[in-house]
């Protein structure tokens, strides 16, 4: 098969997610309503608490990261969730596709949607709260976003693995895993304030390091970007391997058929 055919195997998931999102009124809520509610809540809180400019940046970076993460990770998880909800999962897995076709295709669409959300939020946060996201130039922004999207991919893959391992009830993971990230990766506070046990978890989440790196532009301090990049790549590779295993297991146990009934 030539490269165009191979490319289309990736784009198939993005195409499906795009059509479904386009026809779903709740996409408006996902892209505009909830992100705005989240940003405005945090921004107004900074006004109420009368925090300084660097602290406003700290909190808004966390708020924007969490929102973009949630949008992108849902898109990755949707690659199986839509199939599971419509009971069409076996049509996907009888086709000659690999786990990486599905994940990266869906992630591509997640990156597009996440970037749109990011664009909206930085414009609004600059206009309303004076947050200059480009203070360190474009490269730090791109590195930060890459970290957010990589973490989103890992969460999305975890949701997919859960679905194939535990069946339909596991779709709750799609909404709850980003909550865990919110708790441990220092979205609204430095990880130093966490209890020691949770700090260990925080140090295992790539987003923690990407947040630390991007915030260091607004509040100068040390960061460990290399660790974050290493963890993101490690989890992505591990996630894809485990996703392949979960597919194999679902074929052995028959869950793949039960998800289609």
């Amino acid at each position: 098969m030539n490269w165009q055919g191979e490319l289309n195997k990736y784009l198939a998931s993005a195409y499906k997610n795009w059509i479904i999102s386009r026809r779903n009124i709740f996409t408006v809520f996902e892209l505009f309503f909830w992100p705005m509610i989240s940003l405005l809540s945090i921004g107004l809180l900074t006004r109420f608490l009368k925090v300084d400019e660097s602290m406003v940046s700290f909190l808004l970076v966390g708020s924007i990261a969490l929102t973009v993460l949630q949008v992108a990770q849902m898109d990755v998880a949707y690659v199986l969730l839509f199939d599971m909800w419509s009971k069409s999962i076996k049509n996907t897995f009888i086709a000659p596709v690999h786990s990486y076709h599905l994940i990266f295709g869906a992630l591509l669409f997640g990156i597009v949607r996440g970037s749109i959300v990011f664009g909206i939020l930085i414009v609004v946060s600059r206009y309303l709260f004076g947050f200059d996201f480009q203070r360190g130039g474009l490269l730090p922004v791109l590195i930060f976003l890459a970290g957010v999207f990589a973490t989103a991919a890992v969460i999305g893959i975890t949701v997919c693995i859960s679905i194939l391992t535990f069946g339909q009830k596991a779709d709750v993971a799609a909404w709850s895993l980003s909550g865990l990230i919110l708790l441990v990766s220092g979205i609204y506070y430095p990880v130093d304030v966490l209890p020691p046990v949770l700090q260990m978890f925080a140090r295992a989440v790539p987003l923690t390091y990407f947040l630390e790196y991007y915030r260091s532009i607004f509040i100068p301090g040390p960061h460990h970007l290399a660790t974050g990049i290493f963890l993101a790549v490690f989890y992505l590779v591990l996630g894809l391997v485990l996703f392949d295993r979960a597919i194999d297991r679902a074929r052995r146990t028959g869950i793949l058929l039960r998800l289609s009934e």
Partner: protein, 310 residues
């Protein structure tokens, strides 16, 4: 030159529960299917037809046994096998909010089709399965028959060499079922596609299949052509006589060649072996009565099914 579309030896499948106990769904299935034939899988509910088709199509894996699909090893060459097979199932499901055309496009992409080739294949299948009037309707708005046609159209996107059809006419109106059967026959003949078909519906199997395997409790209990199955099982013909007056029903039951008998006033139903000249002898016993109607029916697959499912 590949001669067998499927070669299965000793296929076993057991589903384990959470506590470790399990249910055996398929037990030691061995069968060969020729490339040029439409092969039927028949059996009562729970006999393992869908599981067997799912294993043949590499959707799920067997626990034991060896399987070769179109000459490819089903353990080693799964990716290659998936390129040359496809499946259409009963109660087909596709992403709800995608239209007929979008669904075909999406699955075409998963098979690596692209550019004008993808568009052409999608349009060809829309035409071939008479889906033109429904191309822009969402899947959730389609009738059952159209969904089934969409499922068949999807199963032909990659021009498979082997097609699995799992109860393709279940739940359809008779006129739609006739249409679907004609489509299956056409796919087999014009596209030169080997077909493995499971069905509950005996006339469908008799009409379409060159050979049939009967499954019962996860085992193949008979495998042959429809005609041979009827012959080998020695099923008699069914004779129904409606009469008025007196007939010696007790003597009828004792006649050689009468295999079974059920009677009520003015009507008697028998299963007979014609080789015993039983029809002549039966008619003679009705000399005192007036025969109003006599109906002789050859055994069909339904009778075979009932016999084998016992």
């Amino acid at each position: 030159m590949i001669e067998k579309s499927v070669e299965a030896k000793g296929i076993c499948k057991r589903y384990k529960s959470f506590l470790g106990t399990g249910t055996t769904v398929l037990n030691n299935i061995s069968l060969d299917i020729d490339v040029g034939e439409i092969f039927g899988l028949l059996g009562p509910n729970g006999s393992g037809k869908t599981t067997l088709i799912s294993i043949f199509s590499t959707l799920i894996y067997p626990e034991q046994g060896s399987l070769s699909i179109m000459g490819l090893d089903a353990r080693r060459d799964r990716g290659e096998i998936r390129k040359i097979i496809n499946i259409s199932t009963a109660k087909p499901n596709f992403p709800w909010s995608l239209t007929v055309r979008e669904n075909l496009r999406h699955y075409g992409m998963l098979y690596g089709l692209y550019g004008s080739g993808l568009s052409r294949t999608v349009e060809d299948q829309i035409d071939a399965f008479e889906l033109g009037d429904f191309r822009d309707l969402k899947f959730e708005d389609l009738s059952t028959g159209i969904k089934q046609r969409l499922s068949l159209a999807k199963s032909m996107l990659n021009h498979p060499r082997l097609l699995f059809l799992d109860e393709p006419t279940t739940g359809l109106d008779p006129d739609i079922s006739i249409k679907i059967r004609a489509l299956i026959r056409r796919i087999h003949e014009e596209e030169n596609v080997a077909v493995v078909l499971s069905t509950h519906y005996m006339p469908e199997a008799e009409m379409l299949c060159d050979r049939i395997a009967f499954l019962r409790k996860g085992e193949v209990v008979a495998l042959d052509t429809p005609q041979n199955l009827k012959n080998h099982l020695g099923l008699g013909e069914r004779v129904v006589i409606t009469y008025s007056g007196q007939a010696d029903i007790g003597a009828l039951g004792r006649l050689p060649g009468v295999l079974g008998l059920k009677s009520e006033i003015g009507r008697v139903e028998m299963v007979i072996d014609r080789s015993e000249d039983s029809v002549d002898r039966i008619v003679k016993l009705f000399q005192e009565a007036k025969i109003l109607d006599i109906n002789i029916k050859e055994p069909d697959l339904e009778d075979v099914f009932i016999e084998l499912a016992r």
